[in-house]
Amino acid sequence: MISSRARPGSNIRPVSESQPEAEPDVRFTYANERTFLAWNRTALALIATGVAATQLLPKLQLAWGRRLLGLPLVILGAVVAAESFRQWRANDRAMRRGDSLPRSRLPLIVTLGIVAVGVLAIVVAGFGSR
């Protein structure tokens, strides 16, 4: 395990929870910040894609077909934005305590969400071809 308070290459041991919080290495803090921003951009991309699906796609044979594809993406974007803040805070707290970083739920959330929208798209395309 790499302690976020240790400098790379050093042998500083992680600090236990009973010890007071300390300012982590600035590079780890920047990395946590960039990760938050990357997930936030993903959220914005999902929102924009959801709006584009409802507004730009041609009219489908299935009623509400465009909304069926777009609205889940918008909701997924909101969930990713909220979860990215929770993850940033959890990572920051873990780094200050010298703990290992908590496991991120975001990859699973995004993967399941996009797979679900993909399945919906297949269903909508199937109805459209009849």
Partner: protein, 109 residues
């Protein structure tokens, strides 16, 4: 020598972070432009409204970026950006999602 190397590493990390903020600003502007899709094509009075909103988003983000880059010069050893900023960014993104939801649900293309 080692200290200089570590200082350079920290500087590069800061530079990558500033670039990440820059990309996020561009993403906000693009998302706002997508949300204003129903106002396109930009003709008549709507044109001024749309261009004004997009320009305002770009200016706000550019100013925020300027403040960020100038503040990072003296924050190497201090606490970096506090949770309030990240919370506000998250709230802003969720608000964009709510606006997008209503636009997608109620505004016909």
């Amino acid at each position: 020598m080692m200290a200089e190397h570590e200082s350079r590493q920290g500087g590069l990390a800061r530079e990558r972070t500033v670039l990440a903020w820059n990309r996020s600003g561009l993403a906000v502007v693009v998302c706002a432009a997508a949300l204003l899709r129903h106002l396109w094509p930009l003709r008549g009075p709507r044109r001024e409204v749309s261009i004004g909103l997009i320009a305002a988003a770009a200016i706000v983000w550019a100013v925020a970026l300027l403040v960020f880059t100038t503040s990072t010069a003296s924050r190497a050893k201090d606490a970096l950006i506090g949770p309030t900023v990240f919370f506000l960014i998250t709230v802003g993104t969720v608000i964009l999602a709510v606006v997008a939801f209503f636009l997608a649900f109620f505004v016909s293309p």
